[in-house]
């Protein structure tokens, strides 16, 4: 349990391309909506975190592109700091700054327009320039290496992963913000175009444009606001080796570690029994069972079976990605904060058509950064 709550939130719809808005215009929209949602004004925010990536924005110090829009220049300027990584890491950093005692409130904003750059060139740029980058490998090629290793080690099949895409793209039909919402058949997924085998078109998240914002507040402020705060009950992050060959890609010890510590902080002993809903970072279909297992919900290699049996379905005992997940909308960096927002909306009971049955008292949101989930952030949210 921490002293920090999410008191306001907003996200754009996620679309393949937003020709009508630049980064700042996307950020201004979610900033205003998140402040409205919190019942706060810009003058009530004393600290700002912007999350962006220079390669995607095509400029250095890309955070500077949105300072005017997120309000950090208000009244002569407030403290603003930057995270270049997933939005969940921005959330963590924002929390830490409040916990330092220097601030009461923090606005975390994140944006990405995947449509404007070249996704493959940009994700090739995350690899070292001596040994890996010259091979031309990028995010999806690396993910295919991980998918194959995971299949081989735990005797899984491409069909197992196809069920994740079927579930999540189907869930997205209830989410107006999702970009890819469709009823897929097993045959459709299996027959979709091979991209980086074993990964096919329907195993892969789309390129998206979007932005999101979250208002964090210390208990002193959160309890005075009109609406129910969503408390950050636990949070932890962890990273593992950079070189793909240093890792066993079928395992995610960094996620295991982050989950363990987040559960400890939240006082969770049996995650499957205690957590009501999960939003995790399924950039590729195989990631959902892999992360689900490492989060401790089931033994290694058993995640796919649980998904196939409906345990993680929208109306299952533990819904996973009822929003449609990252497979249905993948504004990079934004996607982790979107998981936090989706989980928080469910706790508030304000998820609209995608609100799951029964009360959501405790939810888990998860973000990743780096190739094949090199680093993970686990956030436990609750009433």
């Amino acid at each position: 349990m921490t002293d920090i709550a999410i008191v306001g939130m907003a996200q754009t719809p996620y679309r393949r391309r937003r020709d009508d808005a630049n980064f700042a215009e996307l950020i201004y929209g979610v900033t205003c909506e998140a402040l409205d949602d919190a019942g706060l004004e810009i003058g009530d925010i004393d600290n700002f975190i912007t999350v962006s990536n220079d390669f995607w924005d095509g400029r250095t110090i890309s955070s500077m592109a949105v300072q005017d829009a997120c309000g950090s220049s208000f009244d002569g300027g407030r403290n603003v700091s930057t995270v270049e990584g997933d939005g969940t890491f921005g959330l963590l950093y924002g929390m830490m700054r409040i916990l330092s005692g220097a601030y009461q409130t923090t606005l975390v904003v994140v944006h990405c327009k995947g449509s404007e750059g070249n996704m493959r060139l940009i994700t090739n740029g995350m690899f070292d320039y001596i040994y890996t980058r010259p091979l031309g490998i990028e995010a999806t090629g690396a993910a295919a290496l991980q998918a194959r290793r995971y299949m081989d080690k735990y005797k899984l099949t491409e069909e197992d992963f196809a069920h994740v895409s079927i579930k999540n793209r189907g869930n997205a039909l209830r989410n107006p913000n999702a970009q890819l919402a469709e009823t897929l058949s097993l045959d459709q997924v299996m027959a979709s175009k091979p991209i980086a085998s074993p990964l096919k078109l329907h195993d892969i998240s789309p390129i998206s444009d979007g932005a999101a914002a979250v208002v964090l507040a210390h208990r002193n402020v959160a309890n005075k606001l009109g609406r129910k705060p969503v408390w950050v009950k636990g949070i932890a992050h962890c990273s593992e080796a950079h070189f793909l060959g240093d890792r066993d890609l079928a395992e995610a010890p960094a996620l295991r570690d982050a989950a363990f510590r987040a559960y400890q902080m939240a006082g969770i002993e049996d995650p499957f029994a205690e957590i009501d809903l999960v939003e995790l970072y399924d950039a590729y279909s195989y990631m959902e069972p892999l992360w689900f297992e490492e989060l401790g919900f089931c033994p290694k290699g058993k995640g796919a079976e649980l998904i196939r049996l409906g345990a993680t379905a929208f109306d299952g005992p533990l819904p996973v990605n009822p929003s449609g997940g990252v497979l249905s909308a993948h504004a990079v960096l934004v996607a982790g904060l979107a998981r936090v927002i989706e989980a928080s909306l469910q706790i508030r009971g304000e998820a609209g058509e995608r609100q799951v049955e029964g009360p959501v008292e405790l939810a888990l949101a998860h973000g990743i950064n780096g190739p094949c989930g090199q680093s993970h952030c686990v956030v436990i949210l609750g009433e």
């Binding site: 070249n118 060139l121 010259p134 090629g141 290793r149 085998s197 060959g245």
Partner: protein, 158 residues
């Protein structure tokens, strides 16, 4: 203020940014050995005994600088592989389809990511024995691509 633009202006841009990256002393040794002798070297940590390739000046696990060079054989075991079908001419070294693999050289504790060649995707299995194929000496230039690819040991998939 509500602005409703009649058209959305889109700019074309391309950042061209030359660099001169120093490989550093450890990778310079690795790359010159690859270029001059078609040899692959790793580093062994004197404390935890783990052998890393690519080589590191310090052991990433126990963070000691007490590491020694170890010559590794140019053969090993395939850990995983991926067949690339998508096309991205600005990035790709050759026309797809082509194959990436991670090969754990005999004696090494980590895998090396590289291309696989002289094999059809359907013949590949994780766990199969692979061997390195190098460029001819006169074509080698001190880059990781002086190693052309790994192929099934003996030159064909069994």
């Amino acid at each position: 203020m509500s602005r409703s633009a009649e058209e959305n202006i889109i700019f074309d841009g391309r950042i061209r940014m030359p660099y001169k990256w120093a490989a550093g002393e450890t990778s310079s040794y690795f790359l010159t050995q690859l270029r001059d002798h078609a040899k692959l070297w790793g580093t062994r940590c004197s404390v935890c005994q783990v052998i890393f390739i690519p080589p590191r000046k310090n052991c990433p696990r126990c963070v000691t600088a007490d590491t020694t060079w170890v010559e590794l054989p140019s053969r090993g075991v395939l850990q995983t592989f991926a067949v690339i079908y998508f096309s991205e001419p600005l990035l790709q070294p050759s026309e797809p389809p082509y194959i990436y693999g991670i090969v754990k050289l005999d004696g090494a504790d980590t895998g090396l990511t590289h291309f696989l060649g002289e094999v059809a995707p359907g013949e590949l299995r994780s766990g199969m024995r692979m061997e390195a194929v190098f460029k001819n000496k006169e074509d080698r230039s001190g880059l990781i691509t002086d190693l052309l690819y790994f192929r099934p040991e003996g030159g064909s998939a069994s």
